[in-house]
């Protein structure tokens, strides 16, 4: 039984998806409510009625992004038993999502950098999501160490920080126009470097 009142003439999910794509492409500050309203194809009051305000819409968009896009690299990290495979899959996943021609980069990694005072809500929000990725990476390296995949000297925290820096940089390179091939060759080298801390790796 639909609720009383005039029914919506647009699809909320579809509208959210369009908003997400815009935010992905241009970030929070680079996307105006006018842009969003136009992309959704309705007038401002309808969008406000459906989503609240810009902050709330952004939050929902980021949730959609997280579940649809960011989850890929995150899951890949955990699904393989070998740390090498895990990273390789995660990177491949990241590069793919960063390489859509019109959109490019990563909403979370490349979002709201140096754009607004630190205390603004969306800045904190994105940062906390970056922390999630970092923690996932960190836990994966701790597990690898535990599993005996890494040499004694290997420092999982440092490795996580290194690979996270690299991934973070990839997102910016994508934003700055690096091709998929360039991103991929970067990743290839980053993965080769893992040999330096793998226990069973055979030096060439």
């Amino acid at each position: 039984m639909p609720p009383a009142g005039r029914p919506r003439t647009f699809n909320r999910e579809e509208a959210l998806q369009r908003a997400m794509l815009l935010f992905w492409k241009n970030g929070y500050e680079g996307t105006t409510m006018a842009d969003l309203v136009a992309a959704i194809g309705m007038k401002a009051p309808s969008v406000y009625a459906a989503f609240g305000n810009k902050d709330a819409l952004f939050k929902e968009a980021v949730e959609l992004y997280t579940s649809r896009v960011e989850q890929g690299p995150l899951n890949a990290l955990e699904q393989s038993d070998s740390i090498g495979q895990a990273l390789e899959n995660s990177f491949a996943n990241s590069v793919n999502m960063m390489s859509s021609p019109e959109i490019s980069s990563c909403l979370i990694m490349a979002g709201a950098i140096n754009c607004a005072p630190e205390h603004q809500e969306h800045v904190q929000h994105l940062r906390s999501l970056r922390v999630v990725y970092k923690e996932t990476l960190r836990n994966r390296f701790l597990r690898a160490k535990n599993d005996g995949e890494l040499i004694e000297d290997a420092d999982p925290e440092a490795l996580a920080e290194f690979y996270f820096s690299f991934i973070h940089g990839l997102a910016l390179r994508a934003k700055d126009g690096s091709t998929k091939a360039e991103l991929e060759s970067s990743c290839k080298f980053a993965l080769q470097a893992l040999a330096l801390v793998l226990r069973q790796s055979q030096p060439r």
Copy 2:
């Protein structure tokens, strides 16, 4: 002979330096003219008279930043004959400049990401400066290959892209709160990875 007219009551260079520090800390969009005017300690018309407008002031601030701050890592890249030393010095230099407690990160690398439409002038400007860094890195690797420092298989372009991604990421990690120690241990690993492509390196 000073020009006719009332003399300025503030030091232009000092004002520019303060503006640069603000832009460094908060980026172009995160810094308002009101902030700048307050930091300089004058009223808006005086600042406009001295610097033109926000864009022009930003441009001058970035020039100051480039010559005073960014030049360090760039010079370090070229001043050493060994690619390993060159990178090590450049990274150390970068980490130092990114680690000032109150300021942190890099004006050029972390500036104007996903904050404003691509076509805005300051966005293009920062991007072009990033290209300079990338090109310097690329040329340094080409030279290393030429000098016989690298193995046959080494791809200087890919190496440049990788290390630039990493440096780019470092800037964001710094912005996101990584400690100097974390940045340093990341760099250490990144430099160890160079062994994979160094001709004379002895595998362990």
